[in-house]
Assembly symmetry: C2
Homo-oligomer: 200 residues x 2
DNA sequence: TTTAAATGACCGACGGTCAGTCATTTAAAA
DNA sequence: TTTTAAATGACTGACCGTCGGTCATTTAAA
């Protein structure tokens, strides 16, 4: 036998060591040779760990998303009102804190659209379901507490889609100039509609 | 002097003659040489009319979108209720009729995300604003008629984004298995909230 | 009517880039 | 010393975009 490398860990290390270069230049301006060089490995070695450039993006998204989810979980638990909890969720689409992940996420969506792959779709579904269940729990509890009307549950998937939709539009058009404002405006308005008024 | 070709028309002709081949194989499986050959022109000629493959997609989207808009305009005018008019708009994301355009639109969004270009962004903004104004007019008229509450106006951009958001999610996840159903459910629920109940 | 000149459309060979492969080397462990 | 996982960079083939040259048609002078 010879050296046994923790392939999974090394894959992560290579991915993260490419992060900065990609953020600076954009993934599409970089060749595999350049990426490998910046990671301090040969081109062939890159292919020992990744099938192609897309998989590198995928790996970075997975790593950043893990960290991101932990953080969000914490933030949501600490938010006091239902509305605040929901805003924590949308936060991803405009917060400075999530800027980096957002850039990779954008490229990830784009490559997923171009080249739909089982593995990616499963990952994206997991992310979707993870946050959907969060949203669902939050809403259900609020319904149980009689704060919002039961019909709110039917708005869940749509509520979920608005973030992604506005995010894409903000990138591909000039028609959404302030994503944060637009998202908040929508949530605030919707909440006035689903909130049960206290009868004093 | 020599033969003068209507370059604009020929560009359209080439684009449309590639449509079928692209729908069959996907744009990314095709080389410029193959596309040119299928259009009955030389590779060099292709570059007389298009900067690259992306521009071909752009041209096809523009052409199909033109036709599509005319059709939508007609459909919206013929829909009776506000809700129906809005559903005509969302129709794009799931109708069999718009399947082809949707495929190109998807590629168009993907390439726009990867490589944001002024020209494309302007085009996308025009599309956005065009349909946004439609939606706005419909909603405003309905408010004037006292059918729905005035706050509905604040939901417009979000309403607009839901379509795009769910569309993307339906392509990149398994979590939206029936786009039409999900969209309709959302609209129906929202409408029960914004509709002004008649006091009998 | 003839034909030389002008011009724009068309083309495919070519240079360059880059993704992905593979034969070889390296070095740790047995 | 042998074995073998890991690393590597030279190599190849595919494809992009360019460019010099050809062809077909029109113009206009003879």
């Amino acid at each position: 036998m010879a050296i046994i490398i923790d392939k999974i860990q090394k894959k992560k290390d290579i991915a993260l060591s490419c992060k900065l270069l990609i953020l600076e230049n954009g993934i599409h301006a970089l060749s595999i040779a350049e990426l490998a060089k910046s990671a301090g490995i040969g081109k062939g070695t890159f292919y020992e760990y990744f099938k192609n450039k897309d998989e590198l993006i995928f790996e970075i998204v997975i790593l950043l998303m893990e960290k991101h989810n932990l953080k969000k979980e914490f933030d949501i638990a600490n938010a006091s009102t239902v509305k605040d909890k929901i805003k924590v969720f949308y936060n991803f689409f405009y917060s400075e804190e999530d800027r980096e992940l957002r850039i990779f996420y954008k490229d990830f969506i784009a490559t997923s659209l171009i080249n739909p792959q089982e593995e990616r779709k499963i990952f994206q579904s997991k992310c979707f379901d993870y946050y959907y269940q969060w949203l669902e729990q939050i809403i259900e509890e609020s319904i149980r507490r009689n704060e919002i009307i039961p019909e709110s549950k039917k708005l869940l998937k749509g509520l979920f889609a608005i973030g992604e939709g506005m995010f894409i539009s903000s990138l591909t058009t000039y028609s959404i100039d302030n994503l944060e404002k637009e998202l908040n405006r929508y949530i605030d308005t919707l909440f006035t509609l689903i909130t049960i008024k206290e009868t004093k």
